[in-house]
Symmetry: C2
Subunit: 463 residues, 2 copies
Amino acid sequence: MAKLLIRDLFRNEKDYIDKSITISGWIRTIRSSNAFGFIEVNDGSFFKNLQIVFDANLDNFKEICKLHISSSITVTGTLIATPDAKQPFEIHATSLVVEGHSSSDYPLQKKRHSFEFLREIAHLRPRSNTFSAVFRVRSIAAFAIHKFFQERNFVYTNTPLITGSDCEGAGEMFRVTTLDLENLPKDKSGKVDYSKDFFGKETSLTVSGQLAAEAYALAFRNVYTFGPTFRAENSNTTRHASEFWMIEPEMAFADLNYDMEVAEEMIKYIIKYVMDNAPEEIDFFNKFIDKGLLDRLNNVVNSEFAKISYTEAVDILKKAPKEFSYPVEWGCDLQTEHERYITEEVYNKPVFVKDYPKDIKAFYMRMNDDNKTVAAADLLVPGVGEIIGGSQREERLDVLEARMKELGLNKEDYWWYLELRKYGGTKHAGFGLGFERIIMYITGMSNIRDVIPFPRTPNNAEF
Amino acid sequence: MAKLLIRDLFRNEKDYIDKSITISGWIRTIRSSNAFGFIEVNDGSFFKNLQIVFDANLDNFKEICKLHISSSITVTGTLIATPDAKQPFEIHATSLVVEGHSSSDYPLQKKRHSFEFLREIAHLRPRSNTFSAVFRVRSIAAFAIHKFFQERNFVYTNTPLITGSDCEGAGEMFRVTTLDLENLPKDKSGKVDYSKDFFGKETSLTVSGQLAAEAYALAFRNVYTFGPTFRAENSNTTRHASEFWMIEPEMAFADLNYDMEVAEEMIKYIIKYVMDNAPEEIDFFNKFIDKGLLDRLNNVVNSEFAKISYTEAVDILKKAPKEFSYPVEWGCDLQTEHERYITEEVYNKPVFVKDYPKDIKAFYMRMNDDNKTVAAADLLVPGVGEIIGGSQREERLDVLEARMKELGLNKEDYWWYLELRKYGGTKHAGFGLGFERIIMYITGMSNIRDVIPFPRTPNNAEF
């Protein structure tokens, strides 16, 4: 079935040199004289363009000379090595068929466009160098994640997106409904009657698959989710989107140390896999997007991640020869400025901070023996701050129930989650990695809107 | 980092025989006398159980004898080959630590439960043989799909789930909103004011990523989606869920024939990959769920799929020595009974039916030269009927606009979709595969609720 891709030429040059081949793609640049011309064509399979040389011997030479950028063409010709040129080879065209014309008002002309402008043409921006690289890397990184977990026998688990519980507690949720908002059914007390809604009750979009993943970890031992997650928070930052993808591994017979081991191994694996499989893209990002990128990625792959306790982190921050906008006291949540100081200025490598005060962490995290901290660990990385949040989960039914009571949570809402502790519960742990966060980290892109094909943010659901 | 899994023992037996090893898992069966006992333990990494022999030399022998099914344990002992027994080896325990107790009211006792009952304990059912097999196969099949496309250089594209358009036209949609339903904002005319909603307009959950995938195919040449999709249809069948996963490849410079080639190769690849990587599970399904399964799967892998036109299909059905509930005339949609007759009784292998009447297919499908049919192809398979729907897309701007006008569609709603044809459009094609459909096909499970971890259907969003 295979059709020849431009990637094949670059990756297996020797198989094609001096042979007649046919490729298709879109014109990135075109220039011509009366006698001959050059086209750089890109088919999306590879970051780099392929140079086409065409001349007046072609019947449609004049038509070709008038082609606009982004026209689609199919070219047959001989692949000629060009050892003295900047590109390794070029095609001398014997036929050039125009598949689809473009137009002089094509918005992606060969000049630098702002990322803001390119967001307005999100349907066309993957044709630009930057976004071609970003979204190819996104795809490769996604596969690296699946490969990492599948090789280790983790079962990929699709936890539900529509949820009837608001128990996940990780943030504001979107409501999902089929009720007619112009004509809402009401119950006797005049409230909206959700028993008439599609699912017979109130439903929302999930903010985390973790609780469901725990059920599957207690059957399959090692599982992971990799799917969309939603936050209805009205925060317009460069790091938050309303719809994003999360990876949530969950492991039975695992404690917090093991959790951190897997997280470290996974981060290194993803980065290494992308560096090995998208070297042209990483090179581009390093040159044009983030000059320190390659050093930073190599540093992550080759470092042993540091591990310190929250209490140690607070000590470090209090002694820091630096003024923070938010002062630090034991018990407070760490801000990005604190996280970055620790990982960038103190350690200059990734750092796990563990054993956080229970009051700033979720109810399901395992209580430590000090009864003040929980077995949670966040991974901080230079240039970003927190990239992973994980914890050992509370497997002791009585401790969990006591903690839920303390927080005013309703046991009945969690009946099945509690049963997991009743019927062969075991120590288990997991973590969450925001997929877009790691893509931003690997590419150096600084706005989450630029690593999601069609991003959703407050007041924006275009395309 | 690796901890020993029961799968490792079964797959690499020789590395462990006569060695002292440690494994963890959940008790599936336990029986004991005064002097010794047997436990079958499963850790979720492998379909089969591992037998543990324990005796009164263990300090906690009496405690062990009282353990309930589903208790979690960690066992250390020597792995002994048992060539004369039905299992290949067993562990002679030198230590057995109870990680978590279970209870006598554990609902999954060792007897046959109905699938209906097991749906009510969806948090525990993956611990049963059937669902352990189903969800391991689901994970393996998902990876096969990623592997197939990544090996062929398709770019994995995450198209948005929340959509501001209702242009996809594939079915009823769920509304997504953060408006307070008890206190809806109204505009001057008394209608709900969606400009106050989270995205500043009406939004829904997507029914297909295809239109967005087309934009990416026209940049990357070959792309695929693999993500959740939603239908708010109030249909309680064994084959429809409100939330399910879809795979939607989209290829530029590709016609309908190429589309069918890729679909055929993909289906064979997925099935073969699962058969190679989950032989114990497939064997179980073949014995206990669907007796003809293995023959059916082998038949698919080894057949060349048939290709007939819709017109030929109608001729075959009209001449069939069989009464159908729905009579067939050229122009009507084929029903499952028709599809199954063709694929099961006429061809006894998978069949592509192509070139459907334009009036029963979507607006974006490419018009054939007869001006009556479109370049669509559905794949029908024995035992199920339709499993894939695909088409070549209309790339000719004028033809597409004329067709949209005919159908009363609003050009402005599709501005970016139309621009894809204006700026270097090219022939392109794609198809959609319902992930749960292929899982049902590979496992022989007959209800879609039993191949989704926590299914969502009308009036059901439990867990």
